[in-house]
């Protein structure tokens, strides 16, 4: 057993650090650090910088313009990006649709869409969830009816993250209503500029319009935009979900979050001393830090086992439950560390126009805390994950 990285991996980490130090625009890093909302242009700018270096698609094979990195290198890259305060890579095209097209798409689809994802020509969003469906994804009601060489799509998607920026959406649609739920689903690519597509923002409890409703009213979609076979969409959807979970542990985000809590707690004064010296606060902080040390090691153990980038099964459910609980607890500590200045709801402050209310570090904490309640809900709620863990482990499998 050796808890150290290999020489090559250490050199790789150094290379990533140097690249980030040179190429990450300081105004972007400052925005990420301050928890300010990133614009579409910010996201596209960072994607273009990574793409120029050839590092935009860590999980893609080299033949499609990806990095071809193994799991350990991807982990190092993600960790360094989080610590440096880079914008997140927007996952919908790169982490989700890309692998599905490579596995199940036609040659024309691969040739057309994959380069456009890398070059930023398309911004994809995910049309999975529907009103009332919750974690029960297979209960898709959006209908696609074949009409010659087109489908006519009617229905509604919801929780569509950053759909306001997107020009393309990949959708689960029901093509056969008369069979078992999972058997009548197809995977369809829809241009959002098609007549009949309407996007309406949903304001979240933190005040941001991060997600949307997407309505389909007699939307005409060419059959060329069907991925794989009709009625096999559930297989592709599940494949996508395993890729959605590859960075599920969020170790880098937690480390960066913990460092931010410490920065706040060193500056906040409580009873004439820095808050970080308050034994009650220090104990809560230490406990989550210990949990994170253990979880990071669990993550590395799973990564080192997942040879050839294969997506793990029940382990990712375990990482999701623990990793999200840790991130949420860190958000909670940040909110408490900020004290009364966690209360003002000043959306302009988030944009950096208002410097008069409270310390800078207090501005994003409540918004982040509220926003990250989503972590234990999306991607299969933590209760769904517990069901998966119990069923797998009780069946005697897994290890």
């Amino acid at each position: 057993m050796d808890l150290n990285y290999t020489k090559e991996e250490i050199a790789f980490r150094e290379e990533v650090r140097e690249f980030l130090a040179e190429s990450l625009p300081s105004e972007l890093a400052a925005k990420v650090r301050a928890g300010e909302e990133l614009t579409k242009a910010d996201q596209e700018r960072w994607h273009a910088i990574l793409n120029a270096r050839g590092w935009l698609a860590p999980n893609w094979p080299v033949e499609y313009g990806g990095c071809g990195w193994d799991a350990v290198r991807r982990h190092i890259f993600e960790e360094e990006c989080a610590l440096a305060g880079t914008p997140r890579i927007v996952p919908f095209g790169l982490a989700m649709l890309g692998p599905v097209l490579m596995q199940f798409g036609s040659d024309e689809q691969k040739a057309h869409y994959l380069p456009r994802i890398l070059n930023g020509d398309d911004w994809w969003c995910q049309g999975y969830s529907e009103p009332g469906a919750g974690s029960d994804l297979a209960s898709v009601r959006t209908r696609a009816v074949r009409d010659g060489d087109h489908y006519i799509v009617n229905g509604q998607k919801t929780w569509t993250t950053l759909g306001q920026h997107a020009n393309m959406i990949f959708c689960l649609v029901r093509t056969d209503p008369d069979v078992k739920q999972q058997a009548g689903i197809s995977f369809l690519l829809v241009d959002m500029n098609t007549p009949g597509v309407e996007v309406r923002p949903i304001t979240l409890l933190d005040g941001t319009p991060e997600v949307n409703e997407v309505f389909f009213d007699d939307v005409k979609v060419s059959v060329e935009n069907l991925v794989g076979e009709e009625n096999k969409g559930w297989t592709y959807a599940k494949y996508l979900l395993t890729h959605e979970r590859t960075n599920i542990a969020g170790v880098g985000f937690s480390r960066a979050g913990l460092a931010a809590v410490k920065r706040i707690a060193r500056q906040e004064m409580a009873g004439g001393r820095p808050l970080i010296e308050n034994p009650y606060f220090a104990a809560r902080l230490a406990q989550v830090e210990i949990d994170l040390m253990a979880m990071a090691t669990t993550n590395l153990r799973i990564i080192s086992r997942a040879a050839s980038g294969q997506a793990p099964g029940v382990e990712s459910s375990m990482l999701k439950v623990k990793g999200t609980a840790i991130r949420q607890e860190i958000n909670n500590l940040a909110r408490h560390a900020a004290g009364p200045f966690a209360m003002p709801f000043v959306s302009e402050a988030l944009e950096g126009d208002n410097n008069s209310i409270g310390p800078d570090y207090a501005r994003p904490v409540t918004r982040q805390y509220l926003n990250n309640r989503k972590l234990s809900i999306f991607g299969g709620s933590n209760e769904i994950q517990r069901g998966i863990i119990a069923k797998t482990m009780l069946a005697g499998g897994a290890r």
Binding site: D2, M293, A294, T298, A390
Partner: protein
């Protein structure tokens, strides 16, 4: 990065696991728990013959292992089988202290320990000291070139079986000073040593030890005068790895019993493991078990590192194992229901063994405080 055991460690694990599965079932263990000695000399001899004790010492010390991972490998298996034999006290602490501090005349004791022929006990804790390592009221006085020890030692694990007690006593300093603490090798049957023995909740035995003017030659001193605190602190790092790994092994057995029970026990016409309320509690146990496994790897893997790194990781391990251990002990009992309340059912022993780990050399809160102090020193 590599989380695999070496071939030797894998062999050690396999051998020990097989041996204990064959020879240490619950009826054997219950017999040992009921015995006057509180441990089995026969099992101890066989463990020595298998090389299990030797695996806890480095080659320089006469063994063939001694790394943090070696220690964790052995203790995880001991924990898995619910072994109550005094491996921690005789080998890790006693043998380890002599190997670190002993002079030429004392060193052969390490060989006897590895051969399974000598038992040791650390007589350090005192009433009122809780887990404070620097709290030593017992005095050592020079008298005509000899040493006189006087004091009371509390919950001295394995004292009755021990051929020697390793006694901490003050040459100088106030009761809670880190300076002035020294260690002495005291034959258990020395004049002035009185033991009042009793069984422990988690298995094994301990004693209250009275030292009334115990007269020892100067050669009984183990290590330099005043070196006791540092030596104990160093050695307890290994004890923390052993305790954490042992608790992990016991937790693995407790959760394995629970898994089997959930799938066989029927209520309302269904296996109780099909009820979601129980499934989710079990899932949380599985998640926390991965945390426990990881933190034992961290503590074991960093045992040979610099003191600040080593201690930060052992503090983290003892804190997390204390918390998760309690969760596992309490929830595995709850998930079983009434059967787990009986002494006869195997889970009882594992649960008690896990819980009592959190009372040796600091509990979860003690180690959390230690972690905070170590982190702020590093910041």
């Amino acid at each position: 990065m590599n989380f695999e055991l070496t071939e030797e460690q894998q062999m050690l694990q396999d051998t020990l696991r097989r041996f204990l599965a064959d020879r240490y079932d619950s009826s054997v263990r219950n017999g040992i728990l009921d015995s006057d000695l509180g441990y089995s000399p026969d099992i101890w001899r066989q463990l020595a013959e298998l090389g299990v004790i030797g695996a806890l010492f480095t080659e320089d010390q006469g063994g063939f292992g001694g790394s943090g991972i070696d220690i964790a490998t052995v203790f995880e298996e001991l924990g898995r089988a619910g072994v109550v034999e005094p491996m921690l006290d005789t080998a890790i602490i006693g043998g380890g202290l002599i190997a670190a501090l002993g002079d030429d005349a004392q060193m052969p004791l390490v060989e006897f320990v590895i051969a399974g022929e000598t038992h040791l006990a650390l007589a350090h804790g005192e009433a009122g000291a809780r887990y404070d390592l620097d709290h030593v009221a017992t005095r050592a006085e020079e008298r005509d070139g000899d040493i006189l020890l006087s004091g009371r030692k509390a919950v001295v694990v394995n004292a009755e079986a021990a051929d020697y007690l390793i006694v901490s006593a003050r040459d100088s300093g106030s009761v809670t000073s880190q300076e002035g603490i020294s260690l002495f090798l005291v034959p258990r049957d020395a004049a002035g040593v009185t033991l009042v023995g009793y069984p422990l909740v988690g298995g094994g035995r301990a004693a209250e030890v009275a030292l009334d003017g115990v007269r020892l030659p100067a050669t009984a001193r183990l290590g330099a005068s005043g070196a006791g605190y540092t030596a104990l602190n160093e050695r307890l790092a290994a004890a923390h790895v052993a305790l954490s790994a042992e608790a992990l092994g016991a937790m693995e057995s407790a959760t394995a019993l629970t898994r089997d029970y959930l799938m066989t026990r029927k209520q309302f016409g269904r296996a109780i493991g099909t009820f979601q309320a129980l499934q989710h509690r079990f899932a949380d146990l599985m998640v926390e078990m991965e945390q426990a496994r990881s933190v034992v790897i961290l503590a074991a893997g960093h045992l040979e590192d610099s003191a600040p790194t080593r201690d930060l990781n052992t503090a983290a391990a003892r804190n997390l194992i204390g918390r998760v251990g309690r969760l596992v002990a309490e929830d595995t009992i709850q998930l079983h229901g009434g059967i787990a309340m009986t002494q006869e059912y195997e889970l009882a022993h594992f649960a008690k063994r896990i819980l009592m780990t959190d009372h040796r050399f600091g509990d979860a809160d003690y180690h959390l405080e230690r972690f905070v102090a170590l982190s702020s020193a590093a910041a």
